[in-house]
């Protein structure tokens, strides 16, 4: 499986779409498949300050509860309300309608810790 080439990724299986000084964040198709049917997503309030690598929310499947980890430092400016009634969007469209939060980045140039698509594919392949 290869992931969208225009996105960046974290080792915790989040994806990031950089949009100027903002970033949209979700979890990868691989993560969604591993979790199975997603039945609940807990996201932070807008205005919340997130710190890179710290947990910012929760995604739950039928059997399991998993933390979501902030890929970058910034302020939450939007969350995907559609996930409240439609958590399954994360499974059906993880890179599109399954997006989770939009961040205003503290430092739009500090992206070095993110993986590119090839590096993320290699990470997943390594198991």
């Amino acid at each position: 499986m290869t992931v969208p080439a225009d996105l960046r990724y974290t080792r915790d299986h989040e994806w990031v779409r950089i949009d100027g000084d903002e970033a949209v964040v979700g979890i990868t198709g691989y993560a969604a498949d591993q979790l199975g049917d997603i039945v609940f997503v807990e996201l932070p309030e807008t205005g919340k300050q997130l710190e890179a690598s710290r947990p910012f929310g929760v995604v739950e499947s039928v059997k399991a509860v998993s933390d979501l980890f902030a890929p970058l430092t910034g302020e939450v400016v939007a969350t995907n309300d559609a996930l409240t009634g439609g958590p399954e969007l994360v499974n059906s469209d993880p890179y599109g309608d399954g997006w989770m939060i939009r961040l205003r980045l503290a430092d739009p140039n500090d992206l070095e810790d993110l993986l590119d698509a090839d590096a993320y594919d290699a990470l997943v392949a390594a198991g």
Binding site: V39, F40, E60, V62, K63, V65
Partner: protein
């Protein structure tokens, strides 16, 4: 300490071929899900599902004192069972704590099949054998010689009828009969752990693969699915059925769990746990198992604390998002005074207190009855 290699049922290779995610469950390598737990759950509610339950324990108890011996060893009264009928039962310790929940099937005047949970099969076998030592009855642990496949759902009877020589219209709920399925000799019971109509088929271990293949083809033709332990758990929770290790354990009496009807104090003779259970009835339970429907946002899970106002009143024993009801449901123990249906309690879900309403069990009841 070295871990022992898990047991495999005769169907392990088939599960893997179907792409199942396998886990170690009570020392057995079992399928959690073949694809989507929600799809498997819905298949059983709407059509039919097929389960590998070969990990369960099957204990044959036979002899002139089999009935009396079991009556003295268990809380229920197997002497009251007609031939071909079954009862839900429990084996408790002398202090009344539950060792396992069981189904006891009467196959003949002097022959009983006792089915135990996989994780407790050995301790039940040992304990029961010990309790029968002075009786003219022999316990034969056939767990590793018996395969078990369950077929559950509204279409189960349609799937099984062409494959069996047993008249299923005459096989009532909680009955068992000897016959053949796909030409294989076995026992067919109308019991299950899903809240749907269905059957559990016991065959000799070496025939389990053949049995599964025949049932799987018929299940597929009926638009059903193979179903793993993930959906088995969500199905039984909706049906309000307890799981040993969650709702039932050594610190719990049948009365705590709302299952006092299983204990037949009026039966003749002593039984292990009688004194403790009579005391428990007289004193009343200190806690009560309730159903909960979460009314706020969040899924209640095993271990989460339950609050009544600013006081902790108990904890969640099982919880999930109910596929059929579309809301989070849970079972848990609370102080009896907080357990009246309609009471709104709070469940601690991470940093939040989420309201949940006490309801009668089960959460789901199927429409038709047999």
């Amino acid at each position: 300490m070295t871990e022992s290699v898990p047991h495999e049922t005769p169907l392990a290779a088939r599960h893997e071929q179907l792409g199942a995610r396998m886990i170690d469950f009570s020392g057995w390598r079992m399928p959690v899900q073949y694809g989507s737990i929600l799809d498997e759950h819905r298949a059983v509610r709407e059509r039919v599902g097929l389960f590998d339950l070969s990990h369960m324990g099957e204990l044959m108890v036979e002899g002139p004192e089999a009935a009396a011996g079991l009556a003295a060893a268990l809380v229920s009264d197997p002497t009251a069972l007609s031939i071909g009928r079954a009862q839900y039962s429990m084996i408790v310790a002398p202090d009344g704590g539950i060792i396992d929940d069981l189904i006891v099937y009467r196959l003949a005047e002097d022959r009983f099949l006792v089915v135990a949970n996989a994780g407790n099969a050995e301790v039940v076998s040992d304990t029961l054998a010990e309790r029968l030592t002075k009786r003219r009855a022999i316990l034969d642990d056939q767990s590793l010689a018996t395969g078990l496949v369950a077929i559950q759902g509204p279409r189960a009877v349609d799937v099984l009828t062409p494959l069996t020589d047993i008249d299923l219209s005459a096989l009532r709920y909680y009955a068992i009969a000897e016959g053949t399925v796909a030409g294989i000799a076995g026992l067919i019971a109308r019991t299950g752990y899903t809240g749907e109509d269905g059957f559990e088929v016991f065959v000799e271990w070496s025939r389990t693969g053949e049995l599964w293949d025949a049932l799987a083809a018929a299940t597929q033709a009926a638009n059903g699915l193979p179903v793993g332990l993930g959906a088995r758990d969500t199905l039984r929770l909706e049906a309000g059925m307890p799981l040993y290790g969650n709702e039932l354990d050594r610190t719990t009496t049948p009365f705590d769990a709302g299952l006092g009807r299983v204990v037949k104090l009026e039966k003749d003779g002593d039984f292990v746990g009688r004194a403790a259970l009579e005391r428990a009835v007289a004193e009343g339970s200190k806690r009560r198992l309730v159903g909960l429907i979460v009314e706020g946002r969040g899924i209640a899970r095993h271990g989460y604390a339950i609050h009544a106002g600013d006081r902790v009143t108990g904890a969640v024993t099982s919880g999930t998002q109910s596929p059929t009801l579309g809301v989070p449901i849970a079972m848990g123990y609370v102080a009896p005074a907080d357990g009246t249906p309609g009471t709104v309690l709070d469940i601690a879900i991470r940093d939040a207190r989420v309201p949940a309403r006490v309801v009668d069990l089960p959460f789901y009841r199927r429409r038709s009855t047999t």
